[in-house]
Symmetry: C2
Subunit: 497 residues, 2 copies
């Protein structure tokens, strides 16, 4: 089989794995490789060509997805017979998806599955309780702004989003010590889209972004969807290990650091002022931007507020994400990105090239809802409710969990992280716990490589105090049973990011 020299493939400028796949496909189409033939082993072809094994592996994956070849572990990669190829496609055309998308599908398949209909207490989900939504007040506000502002709200907005809401957020952030100009804020479709866009600013496919380990699992999905690799920095005590952070940010391929300093997801912890200052010093020394996810910034119910990284930032290296999804409700799909200088221009260009901005009507309604005090009144009630639920959860954990368990004591937000007694694996516990009557979020999904975890995340968003007590009691029973029966492990759910 003839494959061009790497030097010539490099000159083409196209990804090399694609060219290798193209050439093999042509050999098959031309009959120079025949059905049933075995392709060279990945390692030997990589050596012959002078490329990474991953490059050959990707080429073979592409061909397998197209149905040209078939890979069997331990046997090798073979050209599919003409008949099996025809049957494999039948009358249906299955266009090849890109390797990044294939990896994202693997990631999707590795997400935990829940059966909320089982009647188990739902302590797994970080969706705020619909019973708390100020539905009527918001509906009336939306109706009012649409009557007042009319058809203007049904046009495309500027890619930056509704100016009134940006002004409101600018003032709110200012009151927290964050210098946020109206034109330094870009509205986006929840903090979720904020994460995806912020990543794209600084990291190209193949680059790395440093993340806390563990971290918010959907950040790992966002990175996977862009072909960006995660460089994990372990959490130790209150926040990331700063020495490891510095070593990581010094690596040239690491382009940014994504962090949740306040009410961490999944751990629930918050860092102190000294840690935040040291973190920013490190980022400045390494000249790397920091993406601060402040998605629960409005949900403090204990202790004193600590200035956010954005407030402490003297040089403009922090990009701060905000969202209404957890503090109010997710359904408006409104969040914001605060950035500086060219990063803002770049965000606008990305919005212009992807979705042309979000619905002005909902943004305008939120602007009114905040500026007339409804949002703050809602927050007062919500924080009171969460404080009560937190107490119920922590008391129940104290009461029910066997020795060797540890858990966090959040000062805000919905999440409580539980470390199970050694050597339990939280994934293995999911099914028995569901049967016992409780759902939780297993820890493996918050690790960049999906490694097995003895930890799990509980949330107080979807259950009231009696349900929380029932759920924790069920958790305690399941844990004690598992310890007694030696049911420690399940096969690791691994994801490749």
């Amino acid at each position: 089989m003839q494959i061009p020299l790497l030097r010539d493939m490099r000159r083409e400028g196209r990804p090399v794995y694609g060219q290798i796949a193209d050439h093999i496909r042509r050999e098959v189409e031309a009959g120079r490789i025949e059905p049933g033939d075995r392709l060279p082993p990945i390692r030997s072809l990589a050596e012959k060509l002078g490329v990474n094994r991953d490059t050959v592996s990707l080429a073979y994956e592409n061909l397998a997805n197209e149905g040209v070849v078939e890979s069997t572990v331990g046997r090798g990669t073979f050209v599919r017979t003409a008949l099996s190829r025809r049957n494999g496609h039948a009358t249906a055309f299955a266009p090849p998806l890109t390797p990044v998308v294939e990896r994202l599908l693997d990631f999707e398949r590795a997400r935990p599955e829940y059966d909320p209909a089982s009647g188990a207490v739902p302590l797994h989900s970080l969706v705020p309780d619909p019973a708390t939504y100020p539905l009527d007040a918001f509906r009336r506000t939306l109706n009012r702004v649409m009557t007042r502002d009319g058809a203007d709200l049904l046009l495309y907005g500027p890619p930056q989003g509704h100016r009134g809401l940006r002004e409101v957020l600018s003032n709110r952030f200012g009151a927290m010590g964050i210098d946020a100009g109206v034109d330094e804020i870009v509205l986006c479709q929840g903090a979720s889209q904020g994460i995806a866009l912020a990543m794209r600013l600084f990291a190209a496919p193949g680059d790395c972004v440093a993340v806390e380990e563990p971290t918010y699992h959907n950040v790992l999905a966002a990175m996977s969807g862009q072909g960006i690799h995660a460089a994990p920095v372990p959490m130790s005590g209150e926040g990331v290990d700063l020495d490891v952070l510095e070593r990581t940010l010094k690596r040239p391929e690491v382009k940014a650091f994504y962090t949740i300093p306040t009410f961490h997801n999944p751990l629930g912890t918050s860092t102190r002022l000294e840690h935040r200052k040291a973190l920013l010093d490190i980022a400045e020394r390494c000249a790397k931007p920091v993406v601060e996810d402040a998605y629960e910034m409005d949900l403090r119910y204990l202790g004193r507020p600590v200035p956010s990284l954005a407030a402490l930032d003297a040089t403009g290296l922090v990009v701060q994400l905000f969202s209404f999804s957890k503090a109010l409700f997710p359904g408006a799909r409104v969040g914001s990105i605060l950035a500086r200088g060219r990063s803002v221009d770049a965000l606008l260009a990305l919005k212009h090239a992807t979705d042309l901005g979000g619905p002005l009507a909902l943004q305008a309604a939120l602007a009114d809802f905040v500026s007339n005090g409804d949002y703050d009144r809602h927050l007062v009630k919500l924080r009171k409710l969460l404080l009560v639920r937190r107490a119920a959860m922590l008391e129940a954990l104290e009461r029910e969990m066997p020795a060797g368990s540890r858990w966090s004591s959040p000062e805000g937000g919905y999440q409580v992280w539980v470390d199970l007694p050694e050597p339990l694996d939280s994934s293995a516990l999911m099914a028995p716990a569901a049967r016992a009557g409780v759902l939780f979020a297993p820890g493996y999904q918050f690790h960049h490589d999906g490694r097995p975890s003895g930890g799990l995340r509980l949330t107080m968003s979807m259950a009231d105090e009696p349900a929380i007590r029932r759920g924790i009691a069920a958790l305690g029973r399941a844990v004690r049973d598992a310890l007694a029966n030696g049911q420690y492990k399940s096969p690791p759910a691994s994801v490749q990011v």
Copy 2:
């Protein structure tokens, strides 16, 4: 200056341009290259390393964006002096943006700018007329569904979007001969997001997607934002040149074809059944998916409907985009993607990894608005209005434009394409036409490479008949003056995609 062998850099697995930039930066930081020193010319370094010139060029661009080096055309690339670097950054940190984002910013800068406040007749914008929006009916519908469905509408929806709206669309598409299962439809933030997601399914950075030439300019932006190259296929007569299409789709690096067969943007033309069938045959022979943008599918006002590619598609190779933005109003930001099999799974995974879906409340309101007949009633009125405006525009063009001008006669939609008499350049005409009293969309932006164009797009969306007549009269005057004064050309606005 020492740079590792390409073979070793390839083994690293990271993009080579990034590694070259890293090594040069380290040499500068270590003082082994000094301020004022000139870096090797791109061509000679590329030859030495055995890489593409583009690879070295990208490395130098990165370093220039970081302020490490400065490139001057005709002189070369020099390491900036310590002082100039310090001043360049001052107290502000400007994190380097990725090369794709830098290219997207270039693309943004090349967009035409309009001054609508000038009083000139706005024939440039493809935003439907707010005077036509059924604002009150929609507002009441939104209010009603929020009262009826309550807090459910303020939760996260499934990534696929509101089921009721998908059912409504499934029925509507079915009535047009398109076999669209409820779970084969994914709602998205306008067709704009549909384009971005569809591209990502099939084309990785560095891959090509075939596009009509000219085509919708924001598709070129979406591709630029993903590092996807455009492979242009010229429009000839009614649709793309099918021979060139076949040759283009045979190229392995071309992963898909984006097309607007009905009410083409910017040309306004529609293809006939025979052309569509032949196009699908070609796509099937070449085993390449087709992304059909049916964004104006509901705006036919003359002639007989021609089945869409999605309706004619026997093997599942068509991905069809739909939007409410042009037929109703943009402000709901609701469109849909119709896809098959694994492509749907992939789209859901992408939604899950980017924005977790759109606002259910607006989707639910649209579902009601369509199923109770309000949308169709709106369309009847809108089509009547557009037919009248079309007549006014075509009559005015006939009356006002000098010999050598040509224009399209659309059977639906808002766009009319005008080819100016040779050798006029439409960009050069923008300013004099604005002074004369009319705004239009210059043709260069619809070309994949931004080449100068003698064509321009008019729209009938934002002007009533008297305004249209005034505007076309102004256009005619401007054209005749330009011909008389020999004002043919302006410097080409070039964009690199």
